[in-house]
Subunit: 236 residues, 4 copies
Amino acid sequence: MDSKVLTDMKYRVWQANLALAKANLVVLTWGNASEINRDLGIIVIKPSGVPYEAMTADQMVVTDLAGNLLEEGSLNPSSDLPTHVYLYQQFKGVNGIVHTHSKYAVMWAQSGRDIPPYGTTHADTFYGPIPCTRQLTEDEVVTAYERDTGKVIVERFINDQIDPLAVPGILTIGHGPFTWGVTVEKAVENAIVLDEVAHMALFTEMLNDHRDVLPNYLLDKHYFRKHGKHAYYGQG
Amino acid sequence: MDSKVLTDMKYRVWQANLALAKANLVVLTWGNASEINRDLGIIVIKPSGVPYEAMTADQMVVTDLAGNLLEEGSLNPSSDLPTHVYLYQQFKGVNGIVHTHSKYAVMWAQSGRDIPPYGTTHADTFYGPIPCTRQLTEDEVVTAYERDTGKVIVERFINDQIDPLAVPGILTIGHGPFTWGVTVEKAVENAIVLDEVAHMALFTEMLNDHRDVLPNYLLDKHYFRKHGKHAYYGQG
Amino acid sequence: MDSKVLTDMKYRVWQANLALAKANLVVLTWGNASEINRDLGIIVIKPSGVPYEAMTADQMVVTDLAGNLLEEGSLNPSSDLPTHVYLYQQFKGVNGIVHTHSKYAVMWAQSGRDIPPYGTTHADTFYGPIPCTRQLTEDEVVTAYERDTGKVIVERFINDQIDPLAVPGILTIGHGPFTWGVTVEKAVENAIVLDEVAHMALFTEMLNDHRDVLPNYLLDKHYFRKHGKHAYYGQG
Amino acid sequence: MDSKVLTDMKYRVWQANLALAKANLVVLTWGNASEINRDLGIIVIKPSGVPYEAMTADQMVVTDLAGNLLEEGSLNPSSDLPTHVYLYQQFKGVNGIVHTHSKYAVMWAQSGRDIPPYGTTHADTFYGPIPCTRQLTEDEVVTAYERDTGKVIVERFINDQIDPLAVPGILTIGHGPFTWGVTVEKAVENAIVLDEVAHMALFTEMLNDHRDVLPNYLLDKHYFRKHGKHAYYGQG
C-alpha cells in the first residue's frame, strides 16, 4: 500500500476526531470518526477509549472493508466499528462517518422522535426530517449490536426511500447521532449542524405548540441553493 | 475611487464579521455583515462560504448599489446580498446590516412569533416588539428569494409603521435575524442584543404564563435613556 | 483625601467590574459595580457605557455620598448611580453594590417572580426567597427612575422585614438583579451565586411541578454553616 | 508514613479538584474531591473554601479514617468531610469521592427525582436510575448533618439493593450530587457523566411526555460493554 496515502488518511481522521472535540460535540473519550478508501479497500478509524488530548495520528486504526485489523500492534478500534463498516457497505457514496453523543442530538434520540425541518438552518444541510431509528430487538442487541445498529439505520432509509446524501445523518434511538458525507470533513460538519439544529428545534417547539415545518418550496430552495448543479452558495 | 476609504471599509466589514464569530453568533461559515457608502455608491460584504478563521480583509466583496461586482477576480458575495441591497434601498438611515443564524433568535424565527418586550434589556435597544415576517409565497421564493426576503422585511415595517432605526432588527420566519444600524459596528451590537433578548424571553415565558410586557412608560424611559437628544447613558 | 486609599478603591472597583465580565454576567457594556467609604464620604463607581476591555482603574468615577462628581474631568458615572446611592443610604452595613443583566436572573425578573429557595446552593448565600420588586408607577419612572428603583428595593425589605445582609440581592421587575455585600468583592460573588441559583431554579420547576422548597431547618443549617458566629465553612 | 505515597496522594487529589473546575462543574469554591488509602489509614481531601486558582497540592488536608486531622498547621478540611468518611466506611470498594453543585445534577436533586435511564450515555456509566435520597429529618440535620447525609445515601443503596460500583453516584435531595469510584480520577469522570446525563434527561422529558427508558437488554448491553470481564470498550 502507498504509505503516503495511508499517512494522509490517518492524519485526516485524526484531525476529524479533534474537530469533534473542538466543536464541543464530545465529552471524555466519546465519539468517533472514520474514513474509507474504497479503491485500496481500507477503513481508518479512531481507537477505542483514548483521550482526545493524548491521541496521535499514528494511533488511528486501519482495517479492511470487513473491519479486520491490518496493522501489527494496532490499538483496539472504536467499538462502533461494525456500524461504520455496515454503513460503508450500504451507502456507496459515503466516504466518511462520524458518531457522537452530542447533547442536543442525544436529547432527540432519547425522546425517540425525528427532528422536523422547522427552519432553513436545517434545510441547508438536511433535505427533510432527520430520522430516528426504531428500537433494536433483544435478539439484535445480543447477537450483533453494533452491526445491527447499522442495519436499523439503513432500514429506515430504504423504507422511507431517503437518499443518504440528501439527509446525511440519523438518530439511533436511545443512543445518539450518526452523520456521514463524501469526505470525513463533511461528516464532521454535518455532526455540527445536526446538534445545532436539534438545539433550535427543541426550543422552537417550546415557543409555539402549533408551529409549522418549512413549506416544501422553501425546503427545496434552501437545499438546492447549496447542493446540486444549480447551487449558488459558496465559491463553487 | 479613493483607495484608502475602500481599504477602511473592507477592514471594518471584515472586523464586523469576525466580531460575529467572537460573540458566538455564527457556526461554520454562517452569517454575514455589510456596509454601504451611499456617496461613493458602493457596498462591501462578506464573501460566500469562506471560513471565518481563514478570511482576510482583502477578500471582502465590493459591489455597486444594485449588487453588481465592481472588482476583477472578486470572490462570490454572500448569497444574501440581494436582501442587503433591498434593505439599503428602502431604509435610508441604515449604513450597516448583519444576518446570522444565532440560536435563540432562530428559535423565535422558527416559531413564527414576534419577541414581546418583556424587559429593559430589550427596551434599551428595541423600542417595541421585535417583529417576525410573514412566510414568503412559493412564487416569491422561486422568483427572487433573497430580494423578496428584503421585501417582506420592509413590508412589515411599513404596515405597522415602525421606524427601522427604533427597532433595528427583525426575524425572517423559519430562517433567522437581520439587524442593522447607522454603522456596521452598531448592526453587530444589535445582533448580539437580539440573541440575548431572545434567550431571556424564551425562559421568561416558561417561568410565568401570565407575565406582562413592560408598561409603555418604562419602554419609553429605557429607550430614550439611550437614544435621542435627552439620552443620558454613556459618555455622550 | 488620602490618595492611596482612593487609588486602592478605584483598583478594587475596576477589578470587581472586570470580574463580572470574566464570570459571563455582562454583555457589551452592561452592568456596574461600586464601593463606598463611609468615613471618607465617597463612592467609586464604573463609568457609563465604557467597553470592559478598554476600561482602566483610572476611569472609575468618584462621587460624594449624594452622587455628586468629585473629580475634574471625570467620565459620566453609570446611569444607575442614583440606585446605588439610595441603597447605600438605606442599607448601613452594605459597602459594595453590583448590578447586572445576567441572563437567568433577568428571566426571573422579567417573569415578576421571587426565586424560591429550592436548594442548599441558594440557602448557602440567600436566607430565604430572593425577592422581586413591584413595578414602578409611571410617576416614579418619569420623576426619578433610578432613585426610585432604589426605593422599591428598600420598600420590599422593609415590608417583609428582610435583613439585607441575610438576603444580599433582589430582582427589579422587568429589569434585572442588584446584589450587595460588606465588600464589593462579596457583592460580585453574590451576583454570581444569584445567576447560578436562578438557572437551577428555572429547570427545577420544569422537572417537578410539585417540588418543595427547602424545609426551614435545612435553610437554617446551610445559611448558618457559612454565616454568623457558629459558621464552620472556609478557613475563617 | 512514606512521604512519597502521601505526596502522590495530595497531588492526585489536587489534580482531581482542578479537573472539576476545568470541566465547569464548580463555581467559586464549591465542590470537593477526596481519596482514601485504606492500608495506610488516611484520607486526603480538599480544604474548605479555598479558591481553585490559588490552591496548591500542599494544601490538601490529611485525616485518619475517622476524619481527624493528622498534620500540624493543616487548613480546615471541606465541611463535607464527614459525608466522605461515612461513605468510605460503608462502600468498601470505593477509593475516591467527589461532591459538586454542578448545575444539571442540582436541578434534578432540587426536584427530588431519580434520573431515569433514558439512554446509552447513562447506561455506559450508571447501571440503572441515578437515585435521589430522601429528605433528612430535622433531627438528623441538627445533630450530625454531614455524617447523616452519608447515612441517607447508604440507606438508599441498601434499601434498593444497589451495588455502589454499578451505580457510582447519587443525588442528595435539595442539595447536589456525590459520585465515587475505585480511584479519585474515576469519581471525577463519573461526576462529569452525571451532569451530562442530567442535562440530556431534562430535555428528553420536554421533547416527549411518553418517552421510554432503555429496555433492560440494552441497559445490560451498554453497561457490560464497558464493565466486567466481557467488556470490549477501550484498550483493556
